[in-house]
């Protein structure tokens, strides 16, 4: 099976959730079901695949780009304020 590369992943983003739907107003059972499905399917970047590059604003000022910080290895965590 051929995995999509990072560029393809980003160009396909318009097929994913809109900002309004992504930022849901209530935590609902459908979200729990979605998490289960995504966990079983290991939705995300597969092991061995190149991690898509990104550049984001950093708390404290400035921006941080993945491609500029590949050594040492990175633990990249996704978390929420609530």
């Amino acid at each position: 099976m051929q995995l999509p590369d990072a560029t393809q992943r980003f160009t396909e983003l318009d097929k994913t959730e809109t900002a309004e739907r992504y930022n849901y107003g209530h935590f609902r059972p459908r979200l729990v079901a979605g998490e289960v499905v995504k966990t079983v399917g290991a939705t995300g970047i597969a092991p061995g695949e190149r991690a898509p590059d990104f550049e984001l604003p950093m708390v404290g000022g400035g921006t941080w780009r993945l491609a500029h910080h590949l050594t040492p290895p990175i633990l990249l965590r996704f978390g929420s304020f609530s």
Partner: protein
Amino acid sequence: MAHFGDRVRLVEVIVRQGHPGPDVPPYESFEQKLRDAYRYKELESIPWTVLVDDLQGTVHQTYGSLADPTYLIDNDGRVAYYNIWTHAPTLYRALSALLAQDGRGVVLGGVDRRPHLGATLTNGWPALRRGLPQSAVDLETSVPASALAPWLGYHLRPLLAPLTLRERPLPPAAKVALGAAAVGIVLLGLRRALARPARPAGATAPLQLAGAG
């Protein structure tokens, strides 16, 4: 991950509100998200780098949009390990394995799908509390006891933390001891349940008899 010092870089991306509520409504602007990221870093005294995703969660969605994942990315910029539900002891093992192979390549089979909820159970309440009362009502109506459990776990933190918030994997002997204790508790419960004499059919409860007399 203090053990690894500067041999690893920890970076966290702040995503959407996981459990919205009156004081933490769903984001309508990037500025709201940025403000929460600053509050998060300050309130939780976070020493690592904290980044802020855009309003649509572009990076989060690209990386799978799960609730609590951590990726280990190797020196070539490839995914060495995907811990779908962040679990420090598992990441400790993965990182140790990666450093042992010169910081490159897939480790431990590459992906861990196990729902590690111990840390959330013990440490998830402060985040959930920010969205009260809606966050708890939404959770309880989605998965019963899923708000009560972190509340209880947070208050039992001193008891649970050595197990649920540990950084390193448990030694095999400790796993065996915990397994044996769990089996012992189950067996004890079964024994007590089976030893209780069954009430004959049609018998009246003793309390009602006392009240009638």
